[in-house]
Symmetry: C2
Subunit: 305 residues, 2 copies
């Protein structure tokens, strides 16, 4: 079995790569790609630096064919909104080219795509289901939705065994990572755990969807193995909770005081902190799971797994 991971140096990528050898001990090749690598390759893995939106690099990368591809590479939403050319190349042209080339090299190849809840756009108060209309209100979400549609069509045609997972903001990203409008969702973990004060930009009652990196990686690995009865787009289960409830959980599991001043950034609250309930029945029935509870989320988010 030959496996490719794009965006392998990203937050989600590093989490996935750490677990691949255990899950696929007999893989013939595990190839990691990203723009640059700052880490050293683990034994048995190959690192390939390059730009997926460059046709020559992509062709050479995919030449041997892969049985399983995790496409995680992406320019984050806030950055893509500012840098339109970069976002168009990385978040739209690259996945379209990768998917089509992968299908041409190895028809029926399993293709797991890290999509985003940004495909929904403003949600209002109604419970999110598979019937929820999609009207992305950031370029990032528009490109993710366009990619989902192309992948569903390739799947319908039997060219790729594609599955798209709509991830919420994954926690806790390193404190240094920028480009994510949802950075506050990770800062809450770091600051409370460190016993530091934090000016959170959104109000205490802002309700977000939460998922630890460990739970996200488990979802990616499960998506890679679910059979043809699966769907082409899956909304994985999440924990839905207020930022205050999450801060309390972090305080509880770390024994640190809770020194947060809540803010009033209405735009950030609208995008990330006004999430309605989710009916994740379809994903649950396929065997996907959320973090067990907020304490488990806090422990997982802080563990570095």
């Amino acid at each position: 079995m030959r496996i490719l991971v794009t965006g392998a140096e990203g937050f989600l990528g590093r989490g996935l790569v750490a677990r691949l050898p255990d899950v696929y001990p007999d893989a013939k090749a595990i190839v990691l790609t990203d723009r640059t690598f700052s880490t050293v390759a683990s034994p048995g893995m190959q690192q390939r630096s390059g730009d997926l939106s460059a046709a020559a690099f992509l062709e050479e990368l995919l030449e041997p064919g892969f049985d399983l591809i995790f496409h995680l590479a992406s320019v984050p939403g806030a950055l893509a909104e500012k840098e339109q050319e970069l976002g168009f190349a990385a978040n739209l042209l690259a996945p379209l080219a990768l998917a089509r080339e992968a299908a041409a090299r190895k028809p029926g190849c399993r293709f797991v795509f890290a999509s985003s809840i940004a495909v929904y756009g403003a949600l209002g108060g109604r419970t999110v289901t598979e019937e929820t209309p999609l009207s992305p209100d950031m370029t990032y979400g528009a490109h993710k939705r366009m990619t989902e549609i192309l992948l569903s069509d390739l799947r319908r045609r039997g060219e790729l065994s594609a599955i798209s997972l709509r991830f919420p903001g994954i926690v806790a990203r390193p404190a240094s990572e920028s480009g994510h409008g949802s950075a506050f969702m990770s800062q809450i973990f770091h600051r409370v755990a460190a016993g530091e004060a934090y000016d959170c930009p959104v109000p205490a009652e802002s309700t977000c969807w939460w998922m630890s990196r460990s739970a996200a990686v488990t979802a990616l690995l499960h998506a890679a193995r679910t059979g043809t009865e699966s769907k082409s787009v899956v909304q994985p289960p999440v924990l839905s909770a207020t930022v205050a409830a999450v801060a309390e959980a972090v305080s509880r599991v770390t024994g640190q005081p809770f020194l947060i001043r809540w803010g009033h950034d209405e735009r950030l609250r609208q995008i990330f902190g006004a999430m309605p309930p989710l009916d994740a029945t379809p994903a649950l029935s396929l065997g996907f799971c959320a973090d067990a509870d907020l304490d488990a989320l806090a422990v997982a988010a802080l563990s570095g797994d």
Copy 2:
């Protein structure tokens, strides 16, 4: 005012071009483009033959900038399903490149896109509204939906004043035109009007959405003039009727007998002949209209306008 029409030699394009001089008598330039032209340019119009998915042609075409673009060029659904490379270039890459280049040359340019009801996919029996989930089940519809999403995003950003119209099969296409799975919808008009027998592939009770070319052109021209209160995607009103009712109307207005044998092509019926009712309130409130009734549809479809 500078106006561009792509796909100007197509069925819809020829109908639109015939009415442009009356609607825009003071246009500084009316530029028509298509792969090839078999007609001679009308006075005051320029014809430019070329391939919109070729970057050099597109750049040169758009270099002077346009105030209004009608993007009609498209590879029909049945052909795009067979010829995937052609469909990808013409129905996805070309509109994406055209829209982005148009916005770069003239920010805020009015961009009217001929989308398709193929974006819906299988509809079931429920009335179609703006909330109806979209799950295109042909590559053609997938590409149209992806283009709508990109255009809505460019509109949100203020880069293009884009509007997408979801057209049903337009009648009556020339009997010679191929590539459309919905060809039977046009043949009914031609054959009944000629007093000829016709083996229609779908059953008599198949319900389609109907629109004459004249009504479609009126919708395009109206879309070009509706203000910023408009929407980024509009489902124009249609006539919803069985193929038998339409054949009767053609027989009635032409005085010809009605010599149709109805078939049993379940796939064609599913795609084109199983249309549920449409709630076109949003479009009606923006001033869009359908053909007045089936007799008016028959007269318009046969008039060549």
